[in-house]
């Protein structure tokens, strides 16, 4: 609980400092101190706080995973915020950033629906303000407006779903809801109320993770705002949304006997295909990364679908939920690193925004642009899933989790569909590699032929250190993924899907 309190107080302190012009510069210090101190506390005291004893054993590990993720992202984003660029709003921006991180940590650790929802909303509210305060982006009003209106709509849908969940389960606490659904609350009546709850919750969260029917805001918003904000939008809501999906769908509803896998399977196929295919034509870097983030949401949903249909009785590397979490970690590090790398590059006083702006970066005379080019290439390779980087193991785990269902006991009726899902995922990974390689190619294999533009240069900020840290992490995870898989598995929910009994009446029940 202490790290959350520290972050919350840091956010409030930043907001308050913003009111006094003489001391508002101190907010930078406050923010760094809050994040570092919270990190130190998490490091010392790894136990997770619960308002009440939670009977599910995976909650603690899950909460800690998202605590580390939130704090790490907080450091990267803090470092990427260009000091001086938005001096007038610096205190407010930092306060919003801290509360967004706080939101992610709370979603990870939430043991009841209210905290879960408030954590998600904390991220959303903070990102509205950050988008609006942004001065770097080309079209901040469009970005802020689009994100705001669609996001509140999705929050409303999500909350509507939560109210059904609460009404059916009769409790706000997640562990009680799990028991309630396991004992048939989700299929009360003729299961239509349970289906309502699941569909609405999934629809609301699909917006946060940019899954396909709700993805269309992402490219416009990312393009309209700055690199830092795009980075925040592509990691924080996605991680929080995934955490909520895991907690609600995998932790609670999967035991309820609803054929939820049909929905997630369709969404996964659509998301992964749409994201990857449309990304092929993008020339704007943030748009490209927006479609890339959509595609990655699709890959994660493949893991989710696998986890919804089959669960091994013991820990296994190809377990769907663990694969999802591992993939999320790899994705978050690579994406945050890529945006941080882009944010330090400038041409003249203009940020680097288009694919053309990256031309010849690796052939630059200075060391710093070359370092950035190499790191960016590493992040792109990691996102594309090329060994030996973190993303490779993520993709591998996700595909194998789907294949693993295919290899599950022969009674499981979903084998062929999950096999097809894995195949579609693999094809898409190949498509995805194409556009990531375009970025790499622009940096390494083209000359900077533009006469009217200034040379790309690196602005020396703490973001360079952040890029370096992300690079090290990407490599480290890629080289020794074992302990990370271990961590992801201890954090994955233990509810057993009851998919097989309900999905096909003719098939006998397994496990």
């Amino acid at each position: 609980m202490i790290p959350e309190l520290v972050l919350g107080m840091g956010a409030v302190a930043c907001f308050c400092l913003g009111a006094f012009p003489t001391v508002r510069r101190a907010s930078q210090l406050v923010a760094w101190f809050a994040v570092l101190f919270a990190g130190a506390v998490v490091g010392v005291q790894t136990g997770w706080w619960h308002g009440h004893a939670v009977s599910e054993p995976w909650y603690a590990a899950f909460g800690n995973l998202f605590r580390w993720m939130g704090l790490g992202l907080g450091l990267v984003l803090l470092a990427s915020m260009r000091p001086g660029a938005s001096e007038r709003h610096e205190a407010e921006s930092l306060g919003c950033l801290l509360s967004a991180i706080l939101g992610l940590m709370l979603v990870g650790g939430a043991a009841d629906l209210i905290t879960l929802f408030l954590g998600l909303e904390l991220i959303s509210v903070a990102s509205y303000i950050l988008l609006y305060l942004d001065r770097d982006g080309p079209r901040p009003e469009e970005a802020a407006g689009k994100y705001f209106y669609l996001s509140i709509l999705s929050s409303a849908v999500f909350l509507y779903g939560l109210s059904y969940l609460y009404g059916l389960g009769g409790a706000l606490r997640l562990d009680r809801l799990t028991h309630a659904w396991a004992s048939g609350a989700g299929t009360l009546g003729d299961a239509s109320l349970g289906a309502m709850a699941a569909v609405l919750v999934l629809a609301g969260l699909a917006f946060k993770i940019t899954a396909v029917p709700f993805h269309f805001y992402a490219p416009d918003v990312y393009q309209g705002t700055s690199h830092v904000n795009a980075s925040l939008l592509s990691v924080l809501p996605k991680a929080a949304g995934m955490a909520a999906i895991i907690k609600l769908l995998l932790g609670i509803m999967v035991g309820g006997g609803l054929p939820l896998w049909q929905v997630t399977l369709a969404v996964a196929v659509l998301t992964v295909t749409v994201g990857n295919v449309i990304a092929l034509w993008q020339t704007h870097l943030r748009r490209l990364l927006a479609y890339s983030s959509i595609a990655h949401a699709g890959f994660m949903l493949i893991g989710l679908t696998a986890a919804m249909t089959y669960r091994r009785p013991h820990q296994h590397p190809w377990d769907g939920a663990g694969a999802l979490l591992f993939y999320l970690v790899a994705y978050v590090i690579a994406t945050a690193g890529a945006f941080a790398a882009l944010s330090v590059l400038r041409r003249g006083n203009r940020p680097v925004e288009r694919l053309d702006d990256l031309r010849g970066l690796a052939r630059s005379n200075a060391t710093a642009p070359r370092f950035i080019a190499w790191s960016l290439a590493a992040f792109m390779f990691s996102l594309a899933g090329i060994p030996p980087l973190a993303g490779f193991w993520g993709k591998l785990a996700v595909f194998f989790s789907a294949l693993d269902v295919g290899a599950s006991p022969s009674e499981n009726p979903l084998r062929s569909r999950l096999l097809w899902l894995a195949v579609i995922g693999a094809v898409n990974a190949a498509i995805g590699a194409a556009y990531y390689l375009r970025v790499v190619g622009a940096m390494f294999f083209t000359e900077d032929d533009a006469q009217d533009r200034q040379q790309a240069a690196v602005v020396a900020t703490p973001a360079v250190v952040a890029v370096f840290a992300c690079l090290v992490l990407t490599l480290a995870i890629g080289l020794s993924p074992g302990s990370w898989f271990q961590a992801a598995h201890s954090a994955s929910p233990t509810a057993v899907p009851t998919i097989v009994e309900v999905s096909l009446d003719t098939a006998p029940a397994t496990h």
Partner: protein
């Protein structure tokens, strides 16, 4: 003799009628007004069902909150009165399909749901705030725990966990509100867009160019100085 059915049908009729009116009217302020009527009638339904606290909250949050909508509507249409919201046929079609799907799902779910618990008679509140109301304040937890379980909510959670469980969300909401206030304060200030002249590909000198001397002129001044001249 029980008049509840009569009041139910009256309130239900008001709810449905005003909801339909809110959809059909093309006039933004009227739309918001019908919405208020609709929400108010729903609050009446809550009162009728004995859920006084929920009803009062419905009044306060939804009915009271819609004033913002009306305020915006009024300010938007103040200059050119009676503007209409144009909806194209394809938008209608899309909205109708979505709404019909949702409506069908809800209707089916509601009709199939097993018969709910008998509503309590008049004077026996089903969900009463009791100590819950003060527990939301985050303090007096012992007061929350001394309340009987029938007062503290229908889900049978023990009152002790109730008091503790909502302290964190309560504090979270206050962080929310602080952030929202900051955002609203900035939103209320007019944005200067120096790069409007140079176009969107122009120099990004937004923050640098704004001089310290110029003071923003909030829109609220128009209200303040309405007749002072």
């Amino acid at each position: 003799m029980d008049f509840n059915w009569l009041f139910f049908w009256i309130l239900a009729a008001i709810t449905v009628t005003s909801a339909v009116a809110a959809v059909l009217t093309t006039h933004i302020v009227r739309m918001a007004f019908y919405l208020v009527v609709c929400l108010g009638a729903v609050a009446g339904l809550f009162f009728l069902a004995g859920a006084y606290f929920v009803g009062a909250m419905q009044l306060m949050i939804y009915v009271g909150g819609t004033v913002v909508l009306i305020g915006f509507g009024v300010m938007l249409t103040a200059r050119t009165p009676f503007v209409r919201m144009q909806t194209t046929p394809d938008q209608w079609l899309l909205a109708m399909v979505t709404a019909a799907t949702l409506g069908a799902m809800l209707l089916q779910a509601t009709l199939r749901y097993p018969k709910p618990i008998e509503p309590p008679g008049i004077g026996e509140p089903a969900v009463s705030p009791g100590r819950l109301g003060t527990a939301f304040l985050g303090l007096r937890l012992e007061a929350a725990s001394s309340g009987t379980s029938s007062q503290t909510g229908g889900d049978g959670e023990d009152a002790e966990s109730l008091g503790v469980a909502y302290l964190l969300p309560f504090e979270l909401v206050s962080v929310h509100l602080l952030a929202v206030l900051i955002g609203a304060a900035y939103l209320a200030r007019p944005r200067r867009r120096p790069d409007q002249e140079t176009g969107r590909e122009g120099e990004h000198a937004g923050a640098e160019r704004s001089g310290p001397g110029e003071e923003p002129r909030p829109a609220a001044v128009a209200i303040a100085s309405g007749g002072d001249s």
